[in-house]
Symmetry: C2
Subunit: 332 residues, 2 copies
């Protein structure tokens, strides 16, 4: 375990279960990582009593404003400069912390990170990545929603940024990168996919070509690149499918009294599987391409999701994710 000092700013009031789930997640993360330091942003009355119990590894920066989950992102960031999200991004920008985590308004966290931290030099469009559990090693999928319309050059950069993330956070050396497409041959797919394939084949050292929808969970690639429209549909489809399929399995195995008795034995194993597939287990999604580590949590994050997102933020900070991305993109 890497125990070098690292500081993560945490938005104490972001998410549907804040502040209790966030503060519980902070406690868990601190217990697991002796080098971790936390700066909490949020209203003084929320963060100061908690920090007082935690000792000197938790600092606070009190804010007078809160961006609600349903506020218009850009307007909220513009008008609420003393909110937990904007102040959190600013602390990273000022070098007081290596990474920022929020499970609050996703659009506002993205807007704050982009506006306050700025983009890494050379990055055209930041992208949101997510780590998908597969039948093999986990896979970084991006963009999952930051850019609904993309150009081929954007997809090349997503590939470079996703590969840097796979190396720093998942520890993959020379990650295999694939393009999500609707056929295996280079000439298949939309105009965007065809042009992106040509560009990636020319410029990416570990490009393995196209993968199809059915390959996403097969573990054939360490990074899968797509536009933010397709990626967002794919991610939400997977989340929905996992929960509905497991629900149907549960219905099937409790359809008779004998089945129910038999399935009681299997409950622990099925619960472990459910938790492996639960997005909460994986915590947050990084916004890649901004000049500072920014990890965004699901609004529904519980304490385990918060703790794992903070651990990822710490690892990305220690591993120099921002510098790795800057170097990858500068190769162009």
């Amino acid at each position: 375990m890497d125990s070098r000092p690292v500081t993560v700013v945490v938005d104490a009031v972001g998410g549907d279960n804040a502040p209790s789930a966030v503060l519980a997640g902070v406690s868990d993360a601190l217990a697991k990582d002796s080098g971790l330091r936390i700066i909490l942003t949020g209203p003084a009355e929320v963060i100061e009593p908690f920090a007082a119990q935690q000792g000197d590894r938790v600092q606070t920066v009190a804010c007078t404003e809160v961006i609600e989950m349903d506020e218009h992102p850009a307007n909220a960031v513009r008008n609420k400069q003393d909110s937990s999200i904007v102040v959190g991004a600013r602390l990273v920008k000022e070098g007081k912390a290596s990474a920022f985590f929020s499970a609050g308004n996703t659009g506002a966290a993205m807007a704050a990170a982009t506006l306050v931290m700025g983009r890494i030099k050379g990055v055209q469009r930041p992208a949101i990545a997510t780590v998908v559990p597969t039948a093999g090693p986990p896979c970084v999928l991006l963009d999952v929603g930051a850019n609904a319309d993309c150009k081929p050059e954007n997809l090349l950069q997503f590939a470079q940024m996703g590969a840097a993330y796979a190396t720093v956070v998942l520890g993959v050396i020379g990650p295999r990168v694939a393009l999500l497409n609707i056929g295996e041959e280079p000439t298949k797919g939309s105009q965007l996919a065809q042009a992106a394939h040509a560009l990636m084949a020319e410029r990416l050292p570990h490009f393995i070509g196209n993968v199809e929808g059915r390959d996403v969970l097969a573990g054939v690639s360490d990074v899968i690149v797509t536009d933010g429209f397709t990626g967002n549909v794919a991610l939400k489809l997977l989340e929905g499918a996992s929960m509905i399929l497991l629900g149907q399995v549960k219905d099937a195995i409790t359809s008779t009294p004998i089945n129910t008795a038999a399935s009681a034995v299997l409950k622990p194993a099925l619960n472990r599987l459910r938790s492996r597939l639960d997005p909460d287990t994986y915590g947050g999604a990084p916004l890649l391409g901004v000049a500072g580590v920014c990890i965004i949590g699901h609004g529904s994050s519980k304490s385990t999701a918060v703790a794992s997102a903070i651990a990822i933020a710490a690892q990305a900070g220690r591993g120099g994710l921002t510098e790795q991305i800057a170097a990858a993109v500068a190769d162009n």
Copy 2:
């Protein structure tokens, strides 16, 4: 059960398991539907011995050519005019049958249907639809691969064609139609999705707005419309996810000897679920917008898939799918 006479042309040599799976599927379909008649296309030595055993409900049109699974679709259709696929499409065009089914080269079947049958008047781009099992009623998803790049007007027509299919084949009166998008609000999504939303809101009587990836399996809509790139990724992702998740459930419930004993009791229920999720159970995908019913099967179709695809072809023929689509599209 509708027992009016209807004739379906079946490509006897299409698919990885042809001709045995196709011929077995034909037998099953005939046994279940007393009004059904079949015309088989394929090499004489394959189809004639089978037809001789079946009596006068099975006719044959022998062909001298076969389009292989991996041939270039347009070239194959152009060069092999006496193939089972081209001849099958021609029999529908000539009014000798109401519908055509092939589990062969998908691109060639699409090309033959489009070139030989032609498009329905007013239809810009034919689309491939598929019926997705959901937590509620089944849902027609289209386009799942015919058109990687689309215009908003294409998506409007996909909606009209998908609604006609839901009515004729699934029996849904006034089907609810949704647009697959990455947010619920009309202003969310790609430029294509935003423009399509505006057009559909203006022109479709049963438009229910945007749905997200997580809603696809929730059963909230009878028809879900998207471009052929997103739809193909979504369909293949679902197929892959179902099989991988069920595999993981199997691993989980057989991870210890006690679990294995308990899970033996559950095997029949889980097998039923697996078969419900297996694409084979649903048979074929219709190519909507061509001037004749054309149902395309998975290359891997087994006899159950062939039988259910033939049943769907018969229903679409009896229900006047082509006329219903012509009427829906003419409303523009």
